[in-house]
Symmetry: C2
Subunit: 83 residues, 2 copies
């Protein structure tokens, strides 16, 4: 299953607990599109949010975000990684 990184703006000032609550909106419906959000990182100063996921396509990931109330258009397929 391909892996994706998507990027959001506008999460400035969001706290850890607020973000955990927000993320449950995606968690609740992700399986309907075969998407799995693996990890997300948020900078509350700039409001930038990065979400790592797997799923059948970019469009499937973006549909889950949009339905969860967190739409974005910025997404990358990331088949190459090092750790």
């Amino acid at each position: 299953m391909p892996r994706f990184m998507d990027v959001h703006e506008g999460f400035g000032g969001v706290t850890q607990s607020e973000f955990e609550v927000a993320a449950t909106a995606e968690d609740a419906i992700q399986a309907e599109e075969g998407v799995r959000f693996e990890h997300s990182w948020l900078d509350p100063e700039s409001g930038k949010l990065f979400c790592l996921s797997t799923g059948p396509s970019k469009e499937a990931v973006l549909r889950i975000h949009a339905r969860a109330g967190h739409p974005t258009a910025e997404i990358y397929e990331v088949p190459i990684e090092v750790s």
Copy 2:
């Protein structure tokens, strides 16, 4: 130790093995600044690269990238995360 996500452009067409070689430049010197690159994800189609690291400051991370020949100015401290 704070965690950071930095973003690069211009890695279009880079292969897995080329990227592994490129990343050794950072690995070789990261300890000099107390930086540790944890994971990187690359989209060879757009050339976008995301690097997750820990370190004492944004500036320390950016100095390692610059000295390794991969300068960028785009970096975010990401104290909030969910998995």
